[in-house]
Amino acid sequence: MTDPIVKIEGLHKRFGDNEVLCGIDLEIAEGEVVCLIGPSGSGKSTLLRCVNLLETPTEGSITAAGHDMTGPDADLDLARRDIGMVFQHFNLFSHMTILDNLVVPQRRVCKIPKDEAVAEARRLLAEVGIEGKERAKPSQLSGGQQQRVAIARALAVKPRLMLFDEPTSALDPEIVGEVLTVMKGLAAEGMTMLVVTHEMGFAREVADRVLFLDGGVIVEQGPPAEVLTAPKTERARSFLHRVLHPVD
C-alpha cells in the first residue's frame, strides 16, 4: 500500500476560546473520494480549510500531496499548487475574463508559456462544458457555470488533490446537478477528492468513504452504504433523519 495523500494527526483548531476541531486523525488514500457531512458548526469547512492551510491549525500535523504543511520549512505556495480548492461562492477573479481566470494562474504560478496556457484553458473549459464564454466576465455567467469554471481553474495548475467546500450550497436546486456531474466525472478519472457537502445523493453514489463530523470530532466513518443507511451512532442517525426528512 502506498503512502496516504493526506495524513492528519491530532488536529486541533481554536478560534479564541471556541474549539472548532478537537483532535482529528484522518488518512486519505490516493484516488479516494471522501465526503464530509455533519451539522453546521461541526467543523467540516474548518477541517477542509486546514488541509491547505487557509486556516492555521492550533495543534497537530498535516501532510498533503507530499508536502509537510505544518512543518517549519513548509513552502505553502508550492504545496497549494498540488491542492486544488473549490469554494461555496466560486470566488472567480471578477475583474478577469473566464479565459484569463484559467490562463493567469497557469502563467503566474506555473510559468507556462501563453500559447500553452490558453490551449490548456480551452481544453479544461470544454471538459466542464463551458463553451463560447471565454471573453465573458464571471458576473455574466449563472452560478452553475461559474462553479464549473472554478473547478476548471483549480484544475489548471495540475493539483493532485481537490478540496470542495460546499460547492453546490449557493446554487439554485435545478442547477446543482450540472456541477455534481462535473465532480462525478473528476472522481471517475481518479482524482482524490475531499468534499464538504449536504448532497447525500452525491455522497451515496460517488464517495468511497463518508465522514460524519459533529462537535469538532469524527463521530462516525465508513462506506456510504453503512454511514448513510445504517448509522451506528445516535447523533448521526438524528442528523441524517433531519436532512432527509426536513418536515416531520
Partner: protein, 273 residues
Amino acid sequence: MDAATETAPARARMTARQRRRLARGVQYAVIVAVVAALAAAADWDRIAASFFQLDIAADMFPAVWTSFWNTIVYTVLAFAFGMVVGVPIALMRVSAFGPYRWFATAYVEVFRGLPALLVLFLVGFGVPQAFPGIQYPGGVYGQVAIGLGLTSSAYIAESVRAGIQAVPKGQVEAARSLGMGHTRTMVTVVLPQALRIVVPPLTNELVMLTKDSSLVFVLGVTTATMELSKFARNELTDTANATPLLVGGLLYLLLTIPLGLLARRLENREDKR
C-alpha cells in the same frame, strides 16, 4: 355647530395629493418672490460693468491658455506624484508588518492634517533653506508635484486602502489556494480590483487638485509658469475689473464639471456590476 368644527372636515376633505400640491405651490411662490426682489434691488448696469466686459474678456485671449494649460499640468503632476506615493502607502497601511503600518498611518495623519498651502510653503521655501543647493527636477513643476502631491498622496492612500479592504476575502483565498504568493496575489488579484473600486473617489481627488493648483502662486511664478487663478488676479489688477475672474472661473468649470460627470458615470457603472 361653530366655525371651528366646520373647517376641520373641510381640511380633511383635502387629499394627501392635494396637500402636497399646495405645499409645493407655496414654495414656488416664495422662491419667485425672493428672486424678483433681488432682481429689483440689484444695480444691473453696475454688475454688467464689473463682470461682463466683453472687450476685457477678449483681451485675455490667447494669453490665458498658457495659464489654463499650466493648471492642467500642475494638477496632473501632483496627481501622478500622489498616486506613485499614495498606492505604496496604502499597501503599507494594510501590511501585516507593524512598522510599515505605523509609518503609513503617521504619514497619512500628518499630510491629511496639514493645510495644502503650508505643505507647499514647506516644499518651496522650508526645504531649500534646510538643504541649501537642493534642486527640484523641473524647477517649479517639481516643487508643485511634490508640494501638492504630498497632501494628495495622503488622501489617495486612504481611498486606495478602503478599496483594498473592499475586495472580497474570497478573492484572496482563491488566489492563495492556487499557489500565488502574498505579493503575487496583491498585484494580480487585489490591486486591480481595488483600483477599479476607487476610480470615482480618485476622480474627485483630481477635481480637488485642480482647484488646489491655485495655491501655486505662493511659490512666485513667472508668466510662463503662472496658473489660472494667478493670471485672472493679475488681469483683475491691471483692468480694475472683475470680468477676468468670471472668465477664469468658467475655465475651471470647463475642467471640473466634466470630471465630476465622469466620476458620477463611473460610480453608476460600478453600482451596476
